[in-house]
């Protein structure tokens, strides 16, 4: 079974600085998709960024980018120029490209942004 691990329960960053959230996963599959979701205090889970495993190029979405290392099964999220509105729980998620398309989530990282 696929598992997703986020080893940082909490992270803190100064406003305007850069922070990296870690995520590793375990799978025997070769084709899959990875996601980062943000859950602010308002509770709604919001998609931040996604990465296809077959793509070598790291996904980028404005201030958010990933460092996808397929061999190492690592998928970290970098937030540049952090803003107060970035404060939230961040969940890394895995989704198989085969059969069952449910998402497997990590435990989450709570990000605090200091003014």
């Amino acid at each position: 079974a696929q598992t997703v691990t986020q080893s940082q329960p909490e992270m803190s960053v100064q406003e305007a600085e850069t922070v990296t959230l870690s995520c590793t996963y375990d799978t025997s599959e070769s084709d899959y998709y990875l996601f980062w979701y943000k859950q602010p205090p308002s509770r709604q889970m919001i998609l931040v960024i996604r990465q296809e495993a077959y793509k070598q190029q790291n996904a980028t979405e404005n201030r958010f980018s990933v460092n996808f290392q397929k061999a190492a099964k690592s998928f970290s999220l970098k937030i540049s120029d952090s803003q107060l509105g970035d404060a939230a729980m961040y969940f890394c998620a895995y989704r198989s490209a085969y059969g069952n398309n449910d998402m497997r989530f990590g435990a989450g990282t709570r990000l605090t942004v200091k003014p």
Partner: protein
């Protein structure tokens, strides 16, 4: 932007009672999901639903759970006889197409507290 809406935001129920959690997915979406998150733990997949039937379900989704799409807009999760360990945040999600690269759009969640 269209949203997945869930009601109620917080449900308190006596152990052994039935509870129904309601979700209104995004209107043109065809695939529906329920996830739960026990406090301090990972978001876990419960069930996916398409074309008026369950597509996949996890081992958590036992005979106490059922899902239904009673009309064209609502998607409900019923827990027949609640247990203390059912206390969790329950998230509904929907997507417009299946395929692992399609993002799932999440609702705000319903916090279920079993007394």
């Amino acid at each position: 932007e269209p949203e997945v809406t869930q009601t109620p935001s917080h449900q308190v129920t006596q152990m052994g009672q039935e509870v129904i959690l309601r979700c209104v997915p995004i209107s043109n979406h065809l695939y529906f999901y329920w996830y739960r998150q026990i406090l301090g733990q990972k978001v876990e997949f419960l069930v996916s639903f398409y074309n008026n039937e369950i597509s996949e379900k996890s081992e958590i989704f036992d005979d106490q759970f059922s899902v239904e799409r009673p009309d064209g807009s609502n998607f409900t999760l019923k827990i027949r006889s609640t247990k203390l360990e059912d206390s969790a945040m329950y998230f509904c999600a929907s997507s417009d197409r299946t395929g692992a690269n399609q993002p799932q759009h999440f609702g705000d969640g319903t916090r279920l507290s079993i007394l």
